[in-house]
Amino acid sequence: MHLILFILFAGFCLAGAINLLLQSHPISSALSLIVVMTSLAVLYLLLGAEFLAAAQVIVYAGAIMVLFTFVVMLLNAGREDRTLGSKASRLIGFPAVVVILSLIATIILHAQELGAARLSEGITTTEELSAVLFTKLLLPFEATSVLVLIAILGAVVLASRGNGENNAKSKEAK
């Protein structure tokens, strides 16, 4: 069962990632990225990370991708033009990526210490996770909340600054 689920959702992941590269419209790329992230949530469940599977769906597939699709629609991003693509990235980049991928895959497949995963084994419950997160790692957790707050403020300032300047200019023109 584990093997079947793994092959199915790993296939979804790879198909979504390849589709992200092939689509020329940003909204299609965003939708295929949602497929990748949801399939990754199922893979997390197979590895026994139940809290992370839920967080992956809520944070990534929910919040972040909604933000992406919102910006794509707000900026009315159309098809991308492929005319000005650099030759160097095609000539050197692709062989380099293939070489690195085959190198990593060879090393991983030859590693002897790695075990195997089976269903209903090695499940980390949310209780265990939060026991560590809220006792030993409380300070980093609170620091993250400050970081997110700063990011929200930064996003508001960055996104609204252009508007303010335009308003000032239109007032001067009047």
Partner: protein, 111 residues
Amino acid sequence: MNPAYTQLLQQDVPLAWYLVLSAALFSLGVVGFLIKRNLITVFMSIELMLNAVNLSFVTFAHQWHAVKGQIFVFFVMMVAAAEAAVGLAIIIAVFRARATLAVDRIDLMKL
């Protein structure tokens, strides 16, 4: 029930396969970063690379029965959310200044 079918149902998956999948997703993210010409799609490729690394974190957490690997993924998710909010705000600001999203046309720090 067919014995071969029963064996298939009880088959384990080597953790190395998860790591290879993670490496493949990361490479696809790198390729997307290189060939995509739209600023938003380039940003999506970065998110794909982050997700690939998260998968290998979870795999190693399962291998060594360590909770800390999963907590690290949690922090990566939080930082990625903050990064996406700030990055998309910067993209909106760049689009207001240049009226384009093509990375080839955005090659100067100043207007």
